[in-house]
Structure formats: C-alpha cells, structure tokens
Symmetry: C2
C-alpha cells in the first residue's frame, strides 16, 4: 500500500484525455498536488493508503474548467448597463466608470469576487485581461486559483498607464514581482487591433518570443472593427496581425466572430487558438462565430466568459452549453460540437492555448490535480444515460459540489473553502454604492 | 388590522404589470390563494395581520414562470440521444422508445419528474402536449402545479390512440374527467402540420371554438416542414392553417422559426401567440426565430422549454436568458428583447397565450398567488444595480428559493415541499434501466 495525500473515488471520471472517454467507478490518486494515477476504484483501494478519502458516489469528476477570456474585475460592473449598443455601452457607461474607479483596490476586490464566482462554477484557471494585473494576481493567489495574467497594452491613457510603453513596462514589472508564484502564468495582452498600433504589436511579438508567452488579443469581434481596419490599414485585422508576425501558435484570438474561409484557414495553418465567447457575442449583438467550421479545420477552440459587464456571469457551464447549442444552429448541423467536444473546449483546449497543457486541462498522471465534481442528482439530472450529455446540456454551476486546485480543496458541498466571505461581500457592497451613485452623473 | 393568510415581504417585487416596474421593499398580501394587494412593506405591516409571514430580505419576488411549450414526460428520455440530426433522432431513438414505453405510468412518472424540476426552477404553470394527458394531469395535481393539458391529435397510431378521431375522443374524455380541477386547463393540441390532416385541423378548430380553448401546434419549426407542405399542399403551413381557420387569437404557434415578413404580419393581424423555444431550436439546428421582429409587430411571444429530450432542461430561467441574448444577435441590435421584456415573455405572455391572463402571469390583485422568489446573493448575483437584469442575465434556477402556487408553498429554501422524493427517484431509476436496456436493441 502506497501512502498518498488524497484519493477521490467517483461514480464517473471523464478525464478528457484520452478523448471521448467515460470511466465508471474510477478513482483519482493525488499526491503533492499532482495526479498520480487514474484507475478503477476497486484497484485503488488495494493500491493506495490515502491520508484523505473523498467518495463522490453520485458524481462525475472532470478537469477544472479553463476560462480562456475574462476581465475579472468587471464583476463589479455586473448589470450596471445592459441592453445597450456596444459603443454607447462602452463610451457612456463602462469607460467612464473605469476612468473614475479603476485602481489596484478595485481590481483586487473585483477579481476576488470573480474568483469566488468562478470557483463555485468549477473554473480553476482563468485567462485575464485588465488593468493592474498585479492586483488581479494577488487576488487569484488569495483565492487559491490559477490565473494567466495579461500584460495589457493599448495606446491611450487610463488610470493605470499613460501610453503603450508604460502599459508594457508596468505589465513586465508585475510579471517580475509575481513570476515565482506557482498558480500564475502570463500572456502578452495587446487589447485589440483598433486600440494598438503596428509599432506596439511588433514590440509585443518580440517580447512574447523572448519570454515564451501567448498573445491574448480581441480579434474580429465586430463588423465595425473590420471595416475600420480596412479604411485605416487597407487590411482586415487578422491580415494586419499576420503581417506583423502575431499570427502563430502563441495567438489566442478572442471572439473570432467575423471570419471568412481564408481567415479560418490562416488560423488553422498557423496553429493559432480561438477563445470563443458565445454569451458575450450574443449580448453585444456582435454576431455568430463559425465554431463548427473552425473545429472542422482543427483549430484549437477554447471557451471564455468575457467580463461580467457583457455576459453577465462568469460561468463556464453556461458557456459550454451555449457554445454547444449555438454551434449546431450556426452550422445547420445537429451533430456539430457534441458534448464531449464542448467539454474538451472548456478544459484542454483552454490549457493548450495558454501553453499549460502539460500541467492542466485533463485528468492525466503528472498533471496538477485541478478537478471539479458535479453531483448527478434528481430531479434536474435524472435519469442519466450519459454523464457527458448532462455536463453539456443539463447541468449548471448549481450542481458543482467540489473543486480542487493543485490538490487543495477550494469548494466543498458547493461552499467556498477558506474565503473571507463577509469581508468580500462588504467590499463588494461598498463598490456597488460608489458606482451606483457616481456613475449616474 | 385585516386578518389574512400570508404576507410576503420582499426586498424587491417585480409585478410585470404595470410594465417595467421594480418595487423596492414591497409586500404581497395573499388570502384564500389569491393576491389581495401589493403595497409598501411599511404600509402592509400596519394594514394586515397575517397568519404566516415570510421575509425575503435579499430576494426579488416575481410571478411564477409559465412554460408555454413542453412534453413533460420526455424527462424520462433526457440525454438518451443527443447530437443527432432531427429525423435520425426522432426515427431511430425517440419514436421507438415511445412506441415501446409510452403508457399512463410512463407519462405520470415522467410528468411528476418534470414538475419537480420545473417547480424548483420557479415554473408554476406549463403548457403540455403529449400522450395520455389524463396521466399528466394527475401528476400535475399531485405536484400542486398548474397545467394546460393538450388534447393531442395526429393521424398515425401510437400506444395511446389509433387515429385522429380516437386521439380527440380520448383527449375530450380526459377533459371531462378533469375539468373541475382548479389547477388544470386545456388546449386543443394538433401535433403539427405534417402529422395532421386538413379534416382533423378543421375539426380541431370547431371544437376549440365550441369549448373556448387555445390551439397549441408546432408550426414552422424547420425548413423541411415548409418545403414538404409546399410540395404536398401548395402552401406554406401557416397559410394552410389560415385557410382552415386555425390562425387567430386562439393560436399558440410553437417554434415559429422560419417566418417571412408576411407571416409575421399575419400572426400580428390575427392576434396569434408564439411559443418561442430557443434552446430546442438551437440543439436540433432548426434555426433562429425572428423574435425581435415579432415583438416589434406586437405579437404575444411566450417562452417554452420544449421537452427534455431536445433541450435538455425544463428551465425557464435558462430559456429567458437564451431568448434575450439570442434575440439581440439575430436582430443585430443589442437593445432587442431587454430584460423586462424577457421576464414578461416568460410570465404574462405565456398566461395570455393560454387564455389565463385574468388568473395568472403577473402580481396583481385578484390573480392567483403563483409566485417565485429569487435570492439575490453573492458572489454570483453581486453587486446588484438592477434586479431585473440579474433575473434575465445572471440568475439561474439555482437561485430560486421559494415558489407558491395559488398561495400554497411548493418550494422552500430551494427544496420541494410535499414531494415524495424517494418514491419519485426510485421510479425514475426503474424507467432509466428499462429505457437504457430495451432501446439499444
């Protein structure tokens, strides 16, 4: 008998690797924060002597979900301004609120709120793009959650930085301060083609190569963005980025809504990833991303929630479901993006886009024990013919019962573990009162 | 002080009538199952002496949701066959399973499971179309839930009936048996243009007029249905139904996905209602209903879940969110179907379509106390700038805390009241085992 830290025995384990596999009555052996073995529970009981044993008798155990695109602190603006056209929403509500309130405290508190929400929804890692990334990183550490922090770049001034050079310098300083943190990684995060100059994109590409980082950028979100780019640069944004050397395996193209066949082909040939954000694309009336076509071409498509100001939930179960349903109607094919593929997009594809697929994204020996258990219980999840169908189509974050990050418990019986709930709630309320009074003027 | 049965005091009340109204710190006075008054809590405390008082300090109280289209018993086939094209799904999976298993027991048990799921999601009334409606009605009564039972008609034989005449006779007999039940009402339910003859439609219209019943019918769900109708009848289905006298204020057109401008105009002029089923339309790749255009023309658009075999959840919060988001992208207008309109569609519009808007669908004096409370709590629903935004975009069935039907409590702190859970769960498991083994042959 081998002594280990933790043995999780579940009714079903869906490891995501190997693909389309559902293991009944299997256990996951965890030691020193990592997955040691996935094996039938009967064998596990003979082989391992765990310090802690968790029985998940009516549960399915999956890898922790990877939220491939968010602006976590924007939880503090959840529902502040809905049902508005994109530019009015940005110019009259979001940008003024950010200009007034964005600060390290705002980002810390908003990100902590986001972490609480995401953990309870089974998300164990998020790809973050916002101001004051060091504050976001500190909140993620406090929450015990994995984050890829964006070294954001844009040309215009905000309370965070003065110009592109300043943004990049501050982002790199945040990386220097936090790069030893086990839960954190980094991306270059040039905001979007319409807010970042050629010169800055070129610099971002150089730094990404030097530091071996992904490039996380909003791309082809709206028709307007494409028209503007043609007028200004005589090229569609993706072509402009290709010319600047930004299209390659490092690229995480966020949204990728308006993509013609050549562009899908380009992303496929260059090995780029897409962060599909279905709820946000619908809510802002951006359009319908051709996800089935991208998957057919072998593009690595992950899923993101976007920020809570345009979604309004950081709920990857919701996005997985919306992605799987929407892909079918958009492709006019009920077989498009089946349940297993949706789950892989919400886990392994996100990890791969972040360059973290050797560490997370599936339940495989050697990877970190970032795990999520979902209770398959009546009435909502009964009967159960196929647990992966329930994950994609019937379950929601309300059924997430347990979450672990690197083997440490973060959610137990649906409740956050080790969170200062009262303090977080008080600070959220303070921000709410501030934004509600000051933004309306 | 006036003695009453029940006083519900909520942080917010959204009555739906009057429109776009959010009342802070209001109470709903309930007596003998009906709403007596909606008034500020401070006034209510001076005016009423309630036998029971429920304080909903961080909650929003709304009318119970109305599920305008479902096949409740199909919960027993939830997730049995996903990710398949419509005809393969029907012919190879659903119809064979129904041919083998449909029976009064199947319908009773499946409907009871559906009621449990719907009540926990704040649904207090459902518009039902399936075989053995008497068994469905008995289950609804057992669950203490309101149902509009379809007197189903189609031409081909099933375990329930032999031909259209037999279906209608059996449906009318079910109505005779149950028509004194306070929670039940009835609709004529000719299945669809492609399964019902002209002669039967004409008969359905006559009976609907005689008995003053709505006509609940699948209509313009797929392109195929329209092509087939043109080939067979030289008319699109909606034109054929108009010629047969079925288009009018009684009509509940389910799906209404493929609608040209003249057809939208026709439904508007004739005062017909639409049951929009967004998840089902996406999952079966049926297409995108032009909901914003229908709302602009003043059509009464309610929302339905469809059956659990094509959704796979009977969750009107999910449908409300999907409807509101999808309407924006389809109309290319971020202002389409704002939150208040989505809530009205999921409540009052459904009641109106069923001819029940004098009795349910809003929180108004004289109506039945069919009510749903949602807990607005962190982290998922914090901050809160506008509770109706949270209802449409952030909340889910997981936040439903209390549900009343005609003043009787059905869900309390998220738990079903008066349900024989163990017996229901055992029967569900028996059906699961039956369907899983027998359907695969």
């Amino acid at each position: 008998m081998q002594a280990i830290d933790l043995l999780l025995s579940a009714r079903w384990v869906i490891p995501v690797e190997p693909r389309e596999t559902t293991l009944a009555d299997h256990s996951v052996a965890v030691n020193a924060g990592r997955i040691l073995e996935v094996l039938p529970t009967a064998d596990a009981e003979r082989r391992y002597d765990p310090a802690e044993r968790v029985r998940l008798d009516s549960h399915v155990l999956i890898p922790g979900l990877v939220n491939l695109h968010t602006h976590a602190a924007m939880t503090l603006m959840r529902g502040l301004a809905d049902d508005l056209p994109l530019m009015e929403w940005l110019k009259d509500h979001i940008w003024p609120a950010e200009a007034k309130h964005a600060s390290p405290e705002f980002v810390h508190d908003g990100t902590l709120l986001a972490c609480a929400e995401m953990l309870r929804a089974g998300v164990t890692c998020f790809n973050e793009m916002y101001f004051f990334p060091e504050a976001a990183g500190r909140a993620a550490i406090e929450a015990g959650m994995r984050a890829a922090l964006g070294i954001i770049a844009l040309e215009f001034p905000t309370p965070y930085a003065a110009d592109a050079g300043d943004y990049i310098a501050k982002g790199l300083a945040a990386r220097d301060a936090l790069k030893e943190e086990a839960l954190l990684s980094f991306c270059m995060a040039p905001h979007a083609p319409y807010t970042v100059s050629d010169r800055t994109f070129a610099r971002v590409v150089t730094i990404a190569e030097e530091l071996d980082l992904p490039i996380h950028v909003h791309l082809h979100e709206t028709r307007h963005e494409i028209e503007e780019s043609i007028a200004q640069f005589r090229a569609r944004p993706i072509e402009r980025l290709r010319a600047l050397g930004a299209v390659g395996p490092r690229l995480i193209a966020v949204h990728a809504v308006h993509m013609d066949e050549q562009e899908i082909d380009l992303l496929a040939r260059f090995g780029a990833s897409v962060a599909h954000c279905p709820s946000s694309n619908l809510k802002l009336a951006s359009g319908f991303a051709p996800v089935a076509a991208m998957l057919d071409r072998g593009i690595n498509v992950g899923i993101g929630t976007d920020g809570a100001a345009s979604n309004n939930r950081l709920d990857l179960f919701q996005e997985m479901r919306t992605a799987a349903l929407l892909a079918k109607a958009v492709a006019n094919d009920a077989e498009a993006m089946p349940a297993h593929q949706a789950l892989a997009a919400a886990t392994l594809a996100g990890a791969r886009a972040l360059g973290l697929d050797a560490a997370i994204g599936s339940i495989a020996p050697g990877k970190f024990a970032d795990l999520c258990a979902i209770a398959i219980e009546p009435p909502e999840l009964a009967p159960c013919y196929d647990p992966v169908s329930h994950l994609a189509y019937s379950a929601g974050r309300g059924q997430v019962s347990h979450v672990w990050v690197a083997g440490a418990i973060r959610v137990e019986q649906g409740k956050l573990v080790g969170f200062e709930n009262r303090s977080l709630n008080n600070r959220t309320l303070l921000w709410q009162n501030k934004l509600a009074t000051e933004t309306k003027t």
